[in-house]
């Protein structure tokens, strides 16, 4: 009985852990670096939005004067815009690379025989 339990556990573990390896092999992701950079920028953008929100709350709770807040808010918005531009540029680069790769694939692939 004890042996049976251990055997069942081993079988279940091997099946569960090995499942991704049984499908079609997926190699290293060529877009990994771009995706990681995008994720970093998205995180930075969210943090910037949080900063804008915090500055607004600081102004509403009296920690920042209206003038100081306007100055800081403009600074933060400029930084947020810079981040959005970088995100757009990265997306555009990534899209262009995908289009190029798709075109190259269509050129090298043999024509379908109908």
């Amino acid at each position: 009985m004890e042996l049976l339990i251990v055997f069942a556990v081993v079988l279940a573990v091997v099946a569960f852990v090995g499942m991704p390896l049984r499908g079609r092999a997926r190699g290293l992701d060529p877009d990994a670096a771009a995706r990681a950079e995008l994720a970093d920028l998205q995180a930075a953008k969210e943090a910037k939005y949080q900063e804008i929100r915090d500055a607004e709350l600081d102004q509403r709770t009296g920690k920042l004067s209206r003038a100081d807040h306007q100055l800081l808010d403009a600074e933060l918005r400029t930084e947020a815009i810079a981040l959005l531009k970088r995100i757009d540029a990265l997306r555009a680069r990534s899209d262009a690379a995908h289009t190029e790769a798709a075109e190259a694939e269509s050129v090298t692939s043999p024509p379908a025989v109908g």
Binding site: V13, D29, L57
Partner: protein
């Protein structure tokens, strides 16, 4: 089932090793399928270890003494509640608990981040599984909880009486949750350093785990302090014991980390500092685990001498060298993206607070390891006591509390004179008024440090109250809501900010309790007969009567005390000393019932103003001649029974045991029928209860900060700012 348990540990060890290999191969060569498989190995590890842990728990609950760990740490007379907790009173069981919790928290972290930090996660998985493999190696080869006994004993040794306390049910799991949760940001930091993804994403993905670790470790520390206060019978809650200090170290550096990551998230600054802090915190968490188990430092909380020290030292050495090497190797990638705008900004306050926390951690580390350091340098082991720790930690804690009040008043990036006037006037006035009011309290100025501390705490509480009030008013102005709804609304939308403020307030209250209760404490050791009275800090404490109870589990000798002040009854206190039976038969048939482990039940009257605490230490010397006579009588009777034929022996032994139980009860009753003087310790501590109230406030604040904002609200807020910035973007590109 011990065989199944042992086999499961082997399976778990193999799964952990596979997880390390598959994750690293997937990260650098094999691709996603291997990474996915490595992540699944963590889930599988959690499943296998859950089964193993369940087997151990069932063995404890069923008092299955074929398990060595059950026979040596539990007994049939142990209450069910404590049978369940006895599992982690042993070296073996606690190691299994550690690695089980690691597998659970790692699974949760990897499940949550499965679509994020894709480059960092495989390396982090490998690090987490390395920890898992290390602890499983210890359970397999050094301290196996599934070791079985060839000869199964009828009865177990029983749980250490000192551990029979409700706080002990949760203290170790909370501490280990703290330690294992800190492994997660540690592992992700290693992953970020190796893959050079050192921006904010890994921090955003793991900050909740860092906060969760801080919360669990903090709760664990406070539960340990509460246990010490109500169980150990010395009247204190913190003794600067090496094991207590070991848990405080990662908590201090972890506190610094959860503050300074906010600066990296917002400004891309302090990357070297944050990486170093989280790596130090992860290493200190393992150091804490090592100190409890190695026996290198004397502590009431340690498991005693063991052979686990060497493998732990190798792991800690690898963690320290690896961390220093990685940070040095990646120093170019860890450069700050911005500079500090002003020395008078919230960032600067955070930085100063970080330095104080690290200084505190260094003081605690130095004092804890001083016996080893002094032995290495001079050949003589010398240790430092509470006065040494107090000398350095009190001023640092004072500065820390002051900064926790200043921080919320200062905006990010820069502070102007106008905002100083707006923010600091009220808290400053509250601090001044508190100190002036204390002038009127007789005796308060005998302890100027405590009075100054009270002033700083008033500053912190007023600054937090002011922030909540202003937030509520701002919300009322914009949303036109009633005050309670507006307050709840502003807190709900800014949980991290206001949760942090509540933590600051709670921590200030906690430290006020510590400062006042230790500065103005009155303690007295007296010997009293029933009817006699002692006077402590104006309270008359009368020893009313002795109490005795003989049970299968223990014999309790105690006292009922009446506390009054100026003729008015204030409280009735009950304190007992429990004597557990010893397994050592050389102490005699009667004597062994008084010769085992002992524990104290404290008599405590806790109040908002002061705690009145007492403990009894009955002297058993007057009982010794009676116990010895009983031993002789029963030994002679037993010899007589042994000479009888087998059939009569069993019945005679049963009769003898019934007589023995009656004799033991009668001996214990002499404490009541012919009472003799007993030693008492009385302590009157003002504001001691506020330590626990402060801790509860602190942890509620932590929970508030940890609680995720509702997804829809978060999306709405983000969308609002995104639209605003997008409009701005459109204008700038026209």
């Amino acid at each position: 089932m011990a065989t199944v348990g042992r086999a499961l540990l082997i399976v778990a060890f193999a799964v952990a090793l596979y997880g390390v290999g598959a994750s690293l191969y997937g990260a650098f060569r094999g691709g996603h399928a291997w990474v996915d498989s490595g992540r699944r190995a963590v889930y599988a590890l959690a499943g296998v270890l859950t089964l193993a842990f369940a087997i151990m728990e069932i063995a404890f609950l069923r008092s299955d003494f074929s398990f060595n760990v059950v026979a040596t740490h539990s007994s049939t007379t142990t209450p069910t509640f404590y049978k369940a907790t006895a599992a982690w009173s042993s070296q073996e069981g606690s190691l299994l608990l550690w690695v089980w919790l690691l597998s659970i928290w790692s699974s949760l972290a990897l499940l949550i981040t499965r679509r994020r930090v894709r480059e960092v996660a495989p390396v982090a998985t490998a690090v987490l599984m390395t920890f898992g493999a290390f602890f499983l190696m210890l359970t397999l080869f050094w301290a196996n909880p599934f070791e079985s006994l060839a000869q199964v004993p009828q009865e177990g040794t029983g749980l250490n009486p000192l551990l029979r306390h409700p706080a002990m049910m949760f203290h170790p799991p909370m501490l280990y949750s703290g330690y294992t949760l800190f492994s997660i940001p540690f592992a992700f930091a290693i992953g970020a350093l190796v893959t050079r993804r050192l921006n904010a994403e890994w921090i955003v993905s793991t900050r909740r785990f860092a906060l969760g670790a801080w919360l669990c470790l903090g709760i664990g520390i406070v539960l340990g302090a509460r246990w010490s206060y109500t169980e150990l019978g010395w009247g204190g809650y913190w003794a600067w014991d090496p094991v207590e200090n070991a848990s405080l170290l990662p908590w201090l550096t972890g506190t610094a980390f959860i503050h300074s990551i906010m600066i990296q998230e917002r400004r891309g600054m302090l990357k070297v500092w944050n990486a170093s802090l989280v790596l130090a915190t992860g290493t200190l968490a393992i150091l804490g685990t090592f100190l409890v188990r190695s026996g290198i430092l004397d502590s009431i909380h340690a498991f005693g001498a063991s052979t686990l020290g060497i493998p732990f030292l190798i792991l800690i050495g690898a963690m320290v060298l690896g961390s220093v090497g990685l940070v040095t190797w990646r120093r170019a990638d860890l450069r700050s993206e911005h500079q500090l705008d002003s020395l008078f900004s919230r960032e600067a306050v955070f930085l100063l607070q970080n330095l104080i926390l690290v200084a505190l951690a260094f003081v605690v580390w130095w004092g804890t390891f001083f016996p080893l350091i002094s032995e290495a340098v001079t050949g003589t082991r010398a240790s430092v006591g509470p006065p040494w720790f107090d000398k350095y930690t009190v001023p640092l804690a004072f500065a820390l509390v002051a900064l926790s009040g200043i921080g919320p008043l200062i905006p990010w990036r820069r502070l102007t004179m106008a905002s100083v006037r707006r923010g600091f006037v009220l808290p400053g006035a509250a601090a001044l008024l508190t100190v002036l009011a204390l002038l009127l309290v007789p005796g308060a100025w005998q302890e100027p440090k405590a009075a100054a501390f009270a002033g700083v705490v008033a500053f912190v509480l007023t600054s937090v109250g002011q922030e909540l009030w202003r937030g509520m008013r701002a919300r009322q102005a914009s949303a036109r809501e009633p005050a309670p709804v507006a307050l709840a609304g502003v807190v709900r939308r800014n949980r991290r900010r206001y949760g942090g403020y509540v933590v600051h307030a709670g921590f200030a209250v906690l430290l006020l309790g510590v400062a006042v209760s230790s500065s103005f404490q009155h303690a007295k050791d007296v010997t009293l007969r029933p009817g006699q009275t002692a006077r402590v800090d104006g309270f008359d404490i009368r020893y009313v009567r002795a109490t005795a109870r003989a049970e299968a589990e223990k014999i309790s000798l105690g006292a009922v005390l009446d506390v009054s002040k100026d003729g008015k009854q204030v409280a009735t206190l009950r304190t007992t000393r429990g004597f557990y039976p010893s397994q050592d038969i050389s102490q005699g048939i009667v004597g062994r019932f008084f010769g085992g482990e002992r524990e104290s039940e404290v008599g405590l009257r806790a109040g908002f103003g002061r705690d009145i605490w007492t403990v009894i230490a009955p002297d058993l010397a007057p009982l010794t001649p009676i116990i010895e006579r009983g031993n002789r009588t029963f030994r002679t009777a037993m010899v007589g029974i042994m000479s009888k034929p087998d059939g009569d022996q069993q019945q005679a032994v049963a009769q003898l045991y019934a007589l023995r139980d009656a004799a033991v009860t009668a001996v214990a009753r002499r404490w009541v029928t012919s009472p003799w003087p007993a030693d008492f310790r009385f302590i009157v501590s003002p504001l001691a209860t506020w330590i626990w109230i402060g801790a509860i406030i602190t942890f509620l604040g932590g929970l508030l900060a940890l609680w995720p904002a509702p997804a829809t609200a978060r999306r709405r807020v983000t969308a609002g700012y995104a639209a605003r910035v997008a409009r701005e973007l459109a204008r700038t590109t026209q």
